[in-house]
């Protein structure tokens, strides 16, 4: 780990009128680190993620990203072309519903190739080669490369979305409930795959979820949110095994033990 944080979030606040989305959130994410954000529905975790990823404009605060070329820069002060360029090169965003992140009318290969073409790849054979390579890495059979995602199962769609996002070798991945809506065996396989991809590629990731098992498996560090505020943060094991805040204690104790 280096000294420079990959992403520094400082005092990010987003209000919806009188209602608080998230308030005064600050943290640092270092290269190679996976950060989990947990909390119940409506606790502001998705709002926070969208503010960091540039989908929402926060009312206050700074999101400083360590860009490959210019060093640390506040992404909120960037121009829109710069921010969009960042979001298709150094960043990736995995949506909860694969349909939001995929082009359903375009073949699997085209979906994976889109980011490559967006950054200037113009050689069909190369694009198709890396699309097939990436389908293999997310455990989708090469023979499905020309099929549309509408013919894929939910788990396959989610894996395809991940392939599509990682093909340009991003340094930071935002994930919004990546395992939501999948059955448990598919979830387990997906988590296993994400974990090995994160380790192999040295990715940094921010994972929003309400599922404590997901962060237990994937996250190095954890933030617990309630009503827009961060109530507790720390190493994952520490927070889950020895929760300090009353809300975290409630959250941990409400997991069903099988």
């Amino acid at each position: 780990m280096t000294d420079t944080a990959l992403l520094s979030v400082r005092g990010v606040t987003k209000r919806y009128g009188a209602h608080i989305g998230c308030a005064d959130v600050s943290f640092d994410l270092y290269p190679g680190e996976v950060m989990g954000i947990v909390g119940e529905s409506g606790s502001g975790k998705s709002t926070l993620l969208n503010c960091m990823a540039g989908h929402l404009e926060p009312d206050a605060g700074a999101v400083v990203f360590d860009t490959a070329v210019d060093g640390p820069r506040d992404t909120l002060l960037m121009s829109e072309p710069e921010r969009r360029m960042l979001s298709r090169t150094d960043w990736a965003f995995v949506h909860q519903h694969a349909r939001d992140g995929l082009r359903m009318g375009v073949s699997a290969g085209g979906n994976v190739g889109e980011r490559l073409m967006a950054v200037g790849a113009r050689h069909y054979g190369d694009i198709r080669g890396s699309a097939i390579d990436w389908l293999g890495r997310v455990e989708i059979n090469e023979a499905r490369v020309d099929d549309r995602p509408t013919t894929f199962s939910g788990g396959m769609q989610q894996r395809l979305q991940i392939a599509r996002n990682l093909v340009t070798g991003p340094r930071l991945v935002f994930m919004d409930e990546p395992t939501g809506g999948l059955d448990v065996s598919v979830q387990a396989r997906l988590l296993d795959m994400i974990r090995s991809l994160v380790r192999d590629m040295g990715l940094s990731a921010i994972i929003v979820t309400h599922d404590l098992a997901v962060v237990r498996l994937l996250a190095d560090r954890l933030m617990v949110m309630k009503s827009g505020h961060v109530v507790e943060a720390g190493l994952t094991d520490q927070v889950l095994d020895d929760p300090k805040h009353a809300y975290t204690q409630l959250l941990v104790s409400s997991i069903l033990q099988v």
């Binding site: 190739g113 069909y124 198709r128």
Partner: protein, 283 residues
């Protein structure tokens, strides 16, 4: 003639359209919104082209209308008689004599010259429309030059058919900046868009957009390095005039599978026949 203002539209409307045309010429390939008027013909019959023609037409002009290359199809005949009646301009079927040519889906075979204006009828001006349905998003993509999606379409073509199967309305890049839909001309005509001495104007009536290519504009058809653009045509000579360099229509001539290939550009074909060229199917 006295029943109508010259060329049907009122002068204020023509002025508005001319401003849009000038802006289009200043920013080649950029789609300029304009307040398209109701015209006495249905959408899809060339309402955009007619308005652009009306705005650029003068009493001295020689007007030619082609529809899929032909001067004698319904659409061409009715638009030509519309302007004969409302503007009283001279009309012609000869490409070389015409000063304003309104066209649907073709570029004439004969090389255009300086001083000519080619007016295209455009059904859907947005090249990204079938990939990205949101207008707000396509505008943003144009302004930020995010054209990766256009290649996704070509990628899909190759993955499905083994080659780029898009054969008309083939997307082009204008002066290295805007990606433009050249209207549904066959891709055989795409190379003629580039470095053309004539002014090329595109009018989309229903979609309320005008765009333009000034003379000698560089227009490049999009492709992949390993699947380069090919201006394809039917691999036959014309049955009537024997031309091997012109775009051909396939005509079914009986119900026993008989067919012939003829030039889609009727003026080019008749001129060649008058010069003594004869194809194998000529009477």
């Amino acid at each position: 003639m006295t029943d109508y203002n010259f060329a049907y539209l009122d002068e204020q409307t023509k002025r508005m359209i001319r401003r849009a045309i000038l802006k289009g010429l200043a920013v080649p390939g950029y789609q300029v919104p304009f307040a398209s008027r109701e015209m006495p013909m249905p959408y899809g019959w060339g309402t955009g082209g007619v308005q652009v023609s009306a705005a650029v037409m003068t009493t001295d002009d020689q007007f030619k209308v082609i529809d899929q290359g032909a001067d004698d199809t319904t659409n061409a005949v009715s638009i030509r008689s519309f302007f004969e009646r409302t503007a009283g301009v001279a009309t012609t079927t000869q490409t070389a004599e015409a000063t304003v040519i309104q066209t649907r889906h073709r570029i004439p075979e004969r090389d255009l010259t300086e001083g000519q204006i080619l007016v295209y009828q455009v059904p859907i001006p947005e090249p990204l429309r079938f990939l990205e349905p949101r207008e707000s998003e396509t505008r943003k993509m144009h302004s930020l030059e995010e054209y990766g999606l256009m290649h996704v379409k070509l990628y899909e073509d190759i993955s499905r058919h083994g080659h780029i199967a898009t054969s008309y309305a083939y997307p082009v890049k204008v002066e290295g900046r805007y990606v433009m839909d050249p209207s549904p001309i066959p891709k055989f005509d795409n190379p003629k868009l580039s470095d053309c001495p004539a002014i090329q104007l595109f009018g989309a009536g229903r979609e309320q957009r005008i765009y333009a290519l000034p003379p000698y504009t560089q227009v490049v058809s999009l492709d992949f390095e390993d699947h380069p653009f090919v201006a394809s045509k039917a691999d036959h000579p014309c049955g009537l005039c024997g031309a091997e360099d012109s775009y051909l229509d396939e005509v079914i001539i009986d119900d026993a599978g008989g067919r012939m290939f003829v030039c889609s550009d009727t003026d080019y074909c008749t001129a060649r026949q008058a010069d003594g060229f004869k194809g194998k199917d000529a009477a």
